[in-house]
């Protein structure tokens, strides 16, 4: 099967998981914000399942509905069956190290499929998920009901954060369409005096980091800032193009560490690990990101010239 067909199948599966959550919420009369939460997961399920058939404008409008639901606090976690600690303790003793087989299988499959087949890394995740869920069920003798319960629990725990990376990617493309990048690059380059290498280097690195923080994506920043700052203030002054451009991109990654806009790196782990403080990961990373940005400036200045 081709890459795109498999991807479409996996999107439908994600959609079905979302429908499952919607179904769990609506059948539970005690769930807080029952209607809003059902709508939220139902709409998402529809976008994932039928996304390729729906017109973009309709999906955009559905996203606005989702925004209204979350803004008015109509999306809340319902009742989930958390595993009993005593049960887990017993199973850990019975299964021993076999309990690691699924996690290791996922990792091994993703790597092997991406390396040795023509399937992309994202397709590999989907295939690995399918194979491993079967292995896990055989291993633990868990039934379909347990799988459904765990799907419901985990998806609700991640909650609205699950779609944030996608939403921010959509925002990024709107920023680009509206010409935000050019405006910023023009503004920064007006303030840089010509003929000073250190200032040029610092502006290139800091510009990359700041613009990445705004866009949430260093790739989007790279072309804009390289054209606006890199070429006139670093390359033209005799900087080694390979060294300086390589450092510019990773200087942008220092910005990625500092922004909630990079949701898949900074917000998703907060949801995945149930961290209470939304900004805990960013706060922690700041202690490395800021010194590392200064090191970028130094390396570009000393290795690039």
């Amino acid at each position: 099967m081709s890459n795109s067909v498999l991807l479409e199948i996996f999107y439908v599966c994600v959609g079905l998981l979302m429908y499952l959550v919607a179904f769990n919420i609506i059948k539970d009369a005690n769930s807080p914000a029952r209607i809003g939460t059902t709508l939220f997961w139902g709409i998402l399920g529809t976008i994932f399942t039928f996304g390729s058939l729906l017109p973009g404008t309709l999906v955009g409008a559905l996203l606005i509905v989702i925004g209204i639901l979350t803004a008015t606090k109509q999306v809340k976690m319902g009742k989930v069956n958390a595993p009993q600690p005593s049960f887990s303790m017993e199973q850990a003793k019975a299964l021993g190290n076999k309990v690691f087989i699924p996690s290791l299988t996922i990792a091994a499959l993703v790597i092997l499929i991406a390396k040795f087949t023509s399937y992309s890394g994202t397709v590999a995740i989907g295939i690995a998920a399918f194979v491993t869920v079967i292995i896990t069920m055989l291993l633990t003798k868990a039934n379909g009901k347990a799988v459904a319960e765990e799907s419901n629990r985990m998806l609700q725990a991640v909650g609205v954060t699950a779609i944030l990376p996608q939403l921010l990617a959509a925002l990024g493309s709107l920023f680009t369409a509206a010409g935000v990048g050019d405006v910023i690059a023009n503004n920064i380059s007006q303030f840089i005096p010509e003929g000073n290498v250190l200032i040029g280097v610092a502006a290139y690195c800091i510009g990359m980091a700041l613009f990445t923080m705004i866009m949430g994506n260093a790739f989007a920043a790279f072309s804009v800032i390289t054209v606006g700052i890199g070429v006139p203030f670093v390359f033209m002054q005799g900087g080694n193009i390979v060294v300086c451009s390589a450092l510019a991109l990773t200087a942008g990654y220092c910005g990625t560490l500092l922004t909630p806009m990079a949701a898949n790196f900074n917000m998703l782990p907060v949801a995945l690990l149930n961290i209470k403080n939304k900004n805990a990961v960013i706060k922690h990373q700041a202690f490395v990101a800021i010194p590392l940005l200064i090191v970028h400036i130094a390396l570009m200045y000393f290795l690039g010239f």
Binding site: V14, V59, A61, F100, A246, V281
Partner: protein, 224 residues
């Protein structure tokens, strides 16, 4: 004028308003100020959201992680780590950072959903529990943030060492468009120093946090 959208984002995040609503409002405002009409804006939002669905495929792994947790994954990881002498949360995070760098430099992707949540974070928590017994919430949160950050540090600063990485290809492609011909292998080589610096910085930060946790529990007198 288009920059007002960015202002909305910054203010929204600082005031901790609902993230989804903030992002959508910023998008609509930016589009309107940039001269787009409402159908154009909705279409851009919706089409990108659909084409980027692959970003959500990690959700398919969640049922498996949930099942493994139900069947004692965390308990077993804790048990194993406690058998190894001299392990601490910081050392686990540094070890993972190192492995993450080696793997991504060879083009192999690990990640938060695949590795950190099911394996690294429980092992780091287990290491701390074996040193200090019951862990308080502040320490638990620090260890979680440390485990998540190790993945990002390793991923970001070592990925360009792999020649076929998308970042390297982006650099080569962008420079080509600007009229500069550069070799991907040279870009990969130029990316090595920062990977080493990032590893050192991560190591230092993890060590500092280990010390901080040790001091906290020494004060409490809760050391085993």
């Amino acid at each position: 004028m288009q920059l007002i959208g960015i202002l909305v984002i910054v203010v929204g995040f600082i005031l901790k308003l609902d993230t989804i609503a903030v992002v959508l409002s910023a998008g609509v405002i930016t589009g309107l100020l940039g001269g787009m009409d409402i159908t154009e804006i909705l279409n851009t939002l919706g089409s990108t959201f659909i084409t980027q669905r692959s970003m959500a495929l990690f959700l398919l792994l969640l049922p498996i992680i949930g099942l493994c947790e139900r069947y004692g994954l965390k308990e077993r990881a804790t048990y194993l780590i406690q058998k190894i002498k001299g392990m601490s949360a910081g050392r686990i995070a540094t070890l993972y950072l190192f492995i993450r760098e080696l793997a991504i430099a060879a083009g192999v992707k690990l990640g938060h959903a695949e590795f950190v949540r099911p394996l690294i974070e429980p092992m780091a928590q287990g290491a701390a529990a074996s040193q200090y017994g019951e862990i308080d919430e502040e320490t638990e949160e620090e260890i979680k943030a440390m485990s998540a950050a190790a993945d990002n540090f390793g991923n970001f600063f070592a990925q360009n060492i792999f020649v076929a990485n998308s970042g390297v290809l982006l650099i080569v492609g962008t420079l080509e468009e600007l009229g500069y011909n550069v070799d991907a292998l040279a870009v990969a080589k130029a990316s090595i120093p920062i990977a080493i610096v990032a590893l050192i910085f991560g190591f230092i930060q993890n060590m500092v946090i280990d010390k901080k946790i040790a001091t906290r529990y020494a004060k409490k007198g809760g050391t085993k």
